[in-house]
Protein backbone atom coordinates (compact mmCIF):
# COMPACT_ATOMS: atom_id res chain seq x y z
CA UNK A 1 0.00 0.00 0.00
CA UNK A 2 2.75 2.38 0.86
CA UNK A 3 4.72 1.61 -2.30
CA UNK A 4 1.99 2.41 -4.75
CA UNK A 5 1.51 6.15 -4.07
CA UNK A 6 5.23 6.83 -3.93
CA UNK A 7 5.73 4.99 -7.20
CA UNK A 8 3.24 7.32 -8.86
CA UNK A 9 4.73 10.38 -7.13
CA UNK A 10 8.34 9.96 -8.25
CA UNK A 11 7.91 10.79 -11.94
CA UNK A 12 6.03 13.97 -10.99
CA UNK A 13 8.92 15.16 -8.83
CA UNK A 14 11.36 14.41 -11.60
CA UNK A 15 9.33 16.34 -14.10
CA UNK A 16 9.13 19.31 -11.77
CA UNK A 17 12.87 19.45 -11.12
CA UNK A 18 13.73 19.11 -14.78
CA UNK A 19 11.55 22.08 -15.70
CA UNK A 20 13.22 24.97 -13.83
CA UNK A 21 16.78 23.64 -14.12
CA UNK A 22 16.84 24.37 -17.86
CA UNK A 23 16.99 28.20 -17.95
CA UNK A 24 17.10 29.39 -14.40
CA UNK A 25 20.35 31.33 -14.39
CA UNK A 26 20.49 34.17 -11.90
CA UNK A 27 20.71 37.19 -14.15
CA UNK A 28 20.83 39.81 -11.42
CA UNK A 29 24.63 40.28 -11.11
CA UNK A 30 25.06 40.40 -14.86
CA UNK A 31 22.37 43.01 -15.29
CA UNK A 32 23.80 44.99 -12.40
CA UNK A 33 27.18 45.05 -14.05
CA UNK A 34 25.76 45.87 -17.44
CA UNK A 35 23.81 48.82 -16.10
CA UNK A 36 26.89 50.02 -14.30
CA UNK A 37 28.82 49.89 -17.54
CA UNK A 38 26.09 51.71 -19.41
CA UNK A 39 25.98 54.40 -16.76
CA UNK A 40 29.75 54.75 -16.95
CA UNK A 41 29.81 55.10 -20.71
CA UNK A 42 26.92 57.53 -20.66
CA UNK A 43 28.85 59.80 -18.32
CA UNK A 44 32.05 59.47 -20.26
CA UNK A 45 30.63 59.82 -23.73
CA UNK A 46 31.29 63.14 -25.38
CA UNK A 47 29.12 64.24 -28.24
CA UNK A 48 30.76 67.60 -28.62
CA UNK A 49 32.32 67.91 -32.01
CA UNK A 50 35.76 68.53 -30.65
CA UNK A 51 37.88 68.59 -33.73
CA UNK A 52 40.93 66.62 -32.91
CA UNK A 53 43.29 65.12 -35.34
CA UNK A 54 45.86 62.44 -34.69
CA UNK A 55 48.27 64.06 -37.10
CA UNK A 56 48.66 67.04 -34.84
CA UNK A 57 50.69 67.00 -31.66
CA UNK A 58 49.68 70.10 -29.81
CA UNK A 59 52.23 71.93 -27.71
CA UNK A 60 51.45 71.53 -24.02
CA UNK A 61 50.97 74.17 -21.41
CA UNK A 62 49.93 74.22 -17.79
CA UNK A 63 47.81 77.28 -18.40
CA UNK A 64 45.76 75.79 -21.19
CA UNK A 65 42.66 75.18 -19.13
CA UNK A 66 39.63 74.04 -21.08
CA UNK A 67 37.31 76.92 -21.89
CA UNK A 68 34.17 77.27 -19.78
CA UNK A 69 31.91 78.24 -22.64
CA UNK A 70 32.14 77.24 -26.27
CA UNK A 71 32.88 79.94 -28.79
CA UNK A 72 29.99 81.60 -30.56
CA UNK A 73 31.26 80.92 -34.06
CA UNK A 74 34.27 78.64 -33.94
CA UNK A 75 36.38 77.92 -36.99
CA UNK A 76 39.03 75.33 -36.32
CA UNK A 77 42.13 75.42 -38.47
CA UNK A 78 44.64 72.68 -37.88
CA UNK A 79 48.23 72.91 -38.98
CA UNK A 80 50.31 69.77 -39.32
CA UNK A 81 54.03 69.63 -38.70
CA UNK A 82 54.65 69.53 -42.46
CA UNK A 83 52.83 72.83 -42.91
CA UNK A 84 49.56 71.58 -44.41
CA UNK A 85 46.22 72.74 -43.16
CA UNK A 86 43.38 70.51 -42.07
CA UNK A 87 40.00 72.14 -42.17
CA UNK A 88 36.73 70.21 -41.89
CA UNK A 89 38.60 66.99 -42.45
CA UNK A 90 40.21 68.15 -45.67
CA UNK A 91 43.90 68.64 -46.21
CA UNK A 92 45.13 71.61 -48.21
CA UNK A 93 47.92 74.13 -48.43
CA UNK A 94 48.11 77.32 -46.39
CA UNK A 95 48.12 79.37 -49.61
CA UNK A 96 44.58 78.27 -50.47
CA UNK A 97 43.21 79.21 -47.04
CA UNK A 98 41.89 82.49 -48.44
CA UNK A 99 39.23 80.84 -50.61
CA UNK A 100 38.11 78.59 -47.76
CA UNK A 101 37.77 81.53 -45.41
CA UNK A 102 35.92 83.53 -48.04
CA UNK A 103 33.34 80.75 -48.19
CA UNK A 104 33.17 80.62 -44.40
CA UNK A 105 32.75 84.38 -44.24
CA UNK A 106 29.78 84.22 -46.63
CA UNK A 107 28.13 81.65 -44.38
CA UNK A 108 28.72 83.84 -41.31
CA UNK A 109 27.33 86.92 -43.06
CA UNK A 110 24.30 84.91 -44.18
CA UNK A 111 23.49 84.08 -40.57
CA UNK A 112 23.48 87.80 -39.78
CA UNK A 113 26.77 87.86 -37.95
CA UNK A 114 30.02 89.65 -38.59
CA UNK A 115 33.33 87.86 -39.16
CA UNK A 116 34.66 89.68 -36.10
CA UNK A 117 32.32 87.55 -33.96
CA UNK A 118 33.99 84.38 -35.14
CA UNK A 119 36.91 82.84 -33.36
CA UNK A 120 39.63 81.14 -35.31
CA UNK A 121 40.86 78.22 -33.27
CA UNK A 122 44.41 77.48 -34.32
CA UNK A 123 45.40 73.91 -33.57
CA UNK A 124 48.95 73.97 -34.73
CA UNK A 125 51.45 71.19 -34.27
CA UNK A 126 54.23 72.05 -31.85
CA UNK A 127 56.85 71.30 -34.49
CA UNK A 128 55.32 73.41 -37.22
CA UNK A 129 57.15 76.60 -38.09
CA UNK A 130 55.84 79.78 -36.47
CA UNK A 131 55.94 81.50 -39.84
CA UNK A 132 53.11 79.26 -41.02
CA UNK A 133 51.01 80.13 -37.98
CA UNK A 134 51.64 83.80 -38.59
CA UNK A 135 50.73 83.36 -42.22
CA UNK A 136 47.41 81.77 -41.20
CA UNK A 137 46.75 84.65 -38.82
CA UNK A 138 47.63 87.16 -41.54
CA UNK A 139 45.24 85.58 -44.07
CA UNK A 140 42.48 85.46 -41.45
CA UNK A 141 43.04 89.11 -40.61
CA UNK A 142 42.77 90.03 -44.26
CA UNK A 143 39.39 88.33 -44.39
CA UNK A 144 38.22 90.31 -41.40
CA UNK A 145 38.64 87.80 -38.59
CA UNK A 146 40.29 89.13 -35.51
CA UNK A 147 39.72 86.74 -32.63
CA UNK A 148 42.15 83.89 -32.38
CA UNK A 149 42.51 81.07 -29.93
CA UNK A 150 45.82 79.29 -29.93
CA UNK A 151 45.07 75.82 -28.74
CA UNK A 152 47.38 73.86 -26.52
CA UNK A 153 47.19 70.56 -24.72
CA UNK A 154 46.53 70.90 -21.03
CA UNK A 155 49.47 69.66 -19.03
CA UNK A 156 48.77 69.12 -15.34
CA UNK A 157 52.43 69.39 -14.55
CA UNK A 158 52.67 65.84 -13.27
Amino acid sequence: MAGTPSATFVPMVRRRTRGPSVTDIDMTPMIDMTFQLIAFFMFVVNFSEAEQDDRIQLPSSQLAKPAEAPFEVPITLQLTSSGSLVYAGELFEVASLGTVLEREKTVILDTGKEPTAATIIVRADGRSPTGEVQEIIRICQEKGFEKFALRAKYDDGG
Binding site: N46, S61, Q62, T130, E132, I137, Q141, K147, A152
Partner: protein, 165 residues
Protein backbone atom coordinates in the same frame (compact mmCIF):
# COMPACT_ATOMS: atom_id res chain seq x y z
CA UNK B 1 -15.52 26.15 -0.53
CA UNK B 2 -12.31 24.69 0.69
CA UNK B 3 -11.23 24.13 -2.85
CA UNK B 4 -12.01 27.71 -3.81
CA UNK B 5 -9.98 29.01 -0.85
CA UNK B 6 -6.87 27.01 -1.51
CA UNK B 7 -6.66 27.52 -5.26
CA UNK B 8 -5.67 31.16 -5.32
CA UNK B 9 -3.00 30.57 -2.69
CA UNK B 10 -1.60 27.69 -4.63
CA UNK B 11 -1.64 29.71 -7.82
CA UNK B 12 0.18 32.57 -6.09
CA UNK B 13 2.96 30.24 -5.09
CA UNK B 14 3.20 28.65 -8.47
CA UNK B 15 3.30 32.04 -10.26
CA UNK B 16 6.92 32.70 -9.62
CA UNK B 17 7.50 36.05 -11.23
CA UNK B 18 9.01 35.06 -14.50
CA UNK B 19 9.65 38.09 -16.65
CA UNK B 20 11.11 37.40 -20.01
CA UNK B 21 14.49 39.05 -19.73
CA UNK B 22 15.65 38.47 -23.27
CA UNK B 23 14.37 41.71 -24.91
CA UNK B 24 15.64 43.82 -22.05
CA UNK B 25 19.06 42.28 -22.17
CA UNK B 26 19.10 42.69 -25.95
CA UNK B 27 18.43 46.40 -25.60
CA UNK B 28 20.87 46.78 -22.76
CA UNK B 29 23.64 45.18 -24.78
CA UNK B 30 22.76 47.33 -27.77
CA UNK B 31 23.07 50.42 -25.61
CA UNK B 32 26.32 49.19 -24.16
CA UNK B 33 27.75 48.52 -27.60
CA UNK B 34 26.62 51.95 -28.79
CA UNK B 35 28.27 53.77 -25.91
CA UNK B 36 31.46 51.77 -26.21
CA UNK B 37 31.68 52.52 -29.91
CA UNK B 38 30.95 56.22 -29.57
CA UNK B 39 33.48 56.62 -26.80
CA UNK B 40 36.10 59.06 -27.89
CA UNK B 41 38.91 59.82 -25.57
CA UNK B 42 39.31 63.57 -25.74
CA UNK B 43 42.39 65.11 -24.29
CA UNK B 44 41.79 68.24 -22.29
CA UNK B 45 42.75 71.24 -24.35
CA UNK B 46 42.75 74.92 -23.66
CA UNK B 47 43.13 78.13 -25.53
CA UNK B 48 45.20 81.24 -25.39
CA UNK B 49 43.10 84.07 -26.67
CA UNK B 50 44.80 86.46 -29.00
CA UNK B 51 42.94 89.44 -30.33
CA UNK B 52 44.56 90.87 -33.40
CA UNK B 53 42.57 93.23 -35.56
CA UNK B 54 44.29 94.06 -38.81
CA UNK B 55 44.64 97.77 -38.13
CA UNK B 56 46.35 97.42 -34.80
CA UNK B 57 48.95 95.03 -36.08
CA UNK B 58 49.97 97.37 -38.86
CA UNK B 59 49.81 100.66 -37.02
CA UNK B 60 51.28 99.51 -33.69
CA UNK B 61 50.66 102.94 -32.22
CA UNK B 62 50.08 102.58 -28.47
CA UNK B 63 47.81 104.87 -26.50
CA UNK B 64 49.35 107.47 -24.27
CA UNK B 65 47.98 105.66 -21.24
CA UNK B 66 49.28 102.35 -22.42
CA UNK B 67 52.53 101.13 -21.08
CA UNK B 68 54.84 100.39 -24.00
CA UNK B 69 54.50 96.74 -24.93
CA UNK B 70 56.95 94.18 -23.70
CA UNK B 71 58.70 92.99 -26.78
CA UNK B 72 59.72 89.37 -26.69
CA UNK B 73 61.97 88.19 -29.42
CA UNK B 74 62.26 84.45 -30.03
CA UNK B 75 65.21 83.53 -32.15
CA UNK B 76 65.33 80.23 -33.98
CA UNK B 77 68.53 78.29 -33.89
CA UNK B 78 69.43 74.87 -35.23
CA UNK B 79 66.42 72.68 -34.69
CA UNK B 80 64.88 74.68 -31.92
CA UNK B 81 65.19 77.78 -29.89
CA UNK B 82 68.28 79.90 -30.39
CA UNK B 83 67.59 82.59 -27.87
CA UNK B 84 65.04 84.71 -26.07
CA UNK B 85 65.20 88.45 -25.72
CA UNK B 86 62.93 90.63 -23.68
CA UNK B 87 62.97 94.31 -24.58
CA UNK B 88 66.36 93.81 -26.15
CA UNK B 89 68.09 91.99 -23.30
CA UNK B 90 68.85 88.31 -23.53
CA UNK B 91 66.95 85.89 -21.30
CA UNK B 92 68.22 82.37 -20.74
CA UNK B 93 65.00 80.46 -20.13
CA UNK B 94 61.23 80.78 -20.10
CA UNK B 95 61.32 80.63 -16.29
CA UNK B 96 63.60 83.63 -16.22
CA UNK B 97 61.36 85.35 -18.74
CA UNK B 98 58.42 84.80 -16.43
CA UNK B 99 60.34 86.16 -13.43
CA UNK B 100 61.20 89.26 -15.39
CA UNK B 101 57.61 89.75 -16.46
CA UNK B 102 56.46 89.36 -12.84
CA UNK B 103 59.13 91.87 -11.77
CA UNK B 104 57.77 94.29 -14.34
CA UNK B 105 54.03 93.91 -13.91
CA UNK B 106 53.63 92.39 -10.45
CA UNK B 107 51.31 89.57 -9.48
CA UNK B 108 48.18 91.68 -9.37
CA UNK B 109 46.19 91.32 -12.54
CA UNK B 110 42.94 92.93 -11.48
CA UNK B 111 41.20 95.68 -13.42
CA UNK B 112 43.41 98.70 -14.05
CA UNK B 113 46.48 96.95 -12.73
CA UNK B 114 49.75 97.20 -14.60
CA UNK B 115 49.40 93.62 -15.80
CA UNK B 116 45.98 94.43 -17.17
CA UNK B 117 47.28 97.32 -19.23
CA UNK B 118 50.50 95.78 -20.39
CA UNK B 119 50.74 94.22 -23.77
CA UNK B 120 53.20 91.64 -24.98
CA UNK B 121 54.37 91.61 -28.53
CA UNK B 122 55.90 88.41 -29.76
CA UNK B 123 58.46 88.76 -32.46
CA UNK B 124 59.36 85.29 -33.71
CA UNK B 125 61.57 83.92 -36.40
CA UNK B 126 59.46 82.22 -39.07
CA UNK B 127 61.26 78.90 -38.85
CA UNK B 128 60.99 78.66 -35.06
CA UNK B 129 59.01 75.59 -33.93
CA UNK B 130 55.61 76.75 -32.77
CA UNK B 131 55.83 75.05 -29.36
CA UNK B 132 58.32 77.67 -28.17
CA UNK B 133 55.80 80.36 -29.01
CA UNK B 134 53.27 78.57 -26.82
CA UNK B 135 55.91 78.28 -24.09
CA UNK B 136 56.54 82.00 -24.29
CA UNK B 137 52.82 82.78 -24.21
CA UNK B 138 52.45 80.49 -21.18
CA UNK B 139 55.32 82.21 -19.44
CA UNK B 140 53.91 85.70 -19.87
CA UNK B 141 50.21 84.97 -19.52
CA UNK B 142 50.24 83.35 -16.12
CA UNK B 143 51.92 81.33 -13.46
CA UNK B 144 50.77 78.34 -11.46
CA UNK B 145 51.27 78.62 -7.72
CA UNK B 146 49.88 75.92 -5.41
CA UNK B 147 47.61 74.73 -8.17
CA UNK B 148 46.13 78.20 -8.61
CA UNK B 149 46.60 80.10 -11.83
CA UNK B 150 47.75 83.65 -11.32
CA UNK B 151 47.16 85.62 -14.47
CA UNK B 152 49.77 88.00 -15.72
CA UNK B 153 49.60 89.69 -19.08
CA UNK B 154 46.42 88.99 -21.01
CA UNK B 155 47.01 91.06 -24.11
CA UNK B 156 49.22 89.15 -26.45
CA UNK B 157 49.87 89.93 -30.05
CA UNK B 158 52.28 88.98 -32.74
CA UNK B 159 54.64 91.41 -34.34
CA UNK B 160 54.35 91.61 -38.11
CA UNK B 161 56.08 88.59 -39.65
CA UNK B 162 59.76 88.94 -40.31
CA UNK B 163 60.93 88.78 -43.87
CA UNK B 164 64.42 87.51 -43.35
CA UNK B 165 64.13 84.70 -45.79
Amino acid sequence: MADADTRPAREGLADKIDINMTPMIDIVFQLLAFFIMTLKIVQPEGDFDVRMPLGAAAAAAPDEEQIPPIRIRLIAGGNGLGGIEMNGTAVTSFEELQERVIALVGLDSGPNSIADKTEVELDCDPQLPYEYVVNAISAVSGTVQDGQIIELVKKIKFAPPRDDS
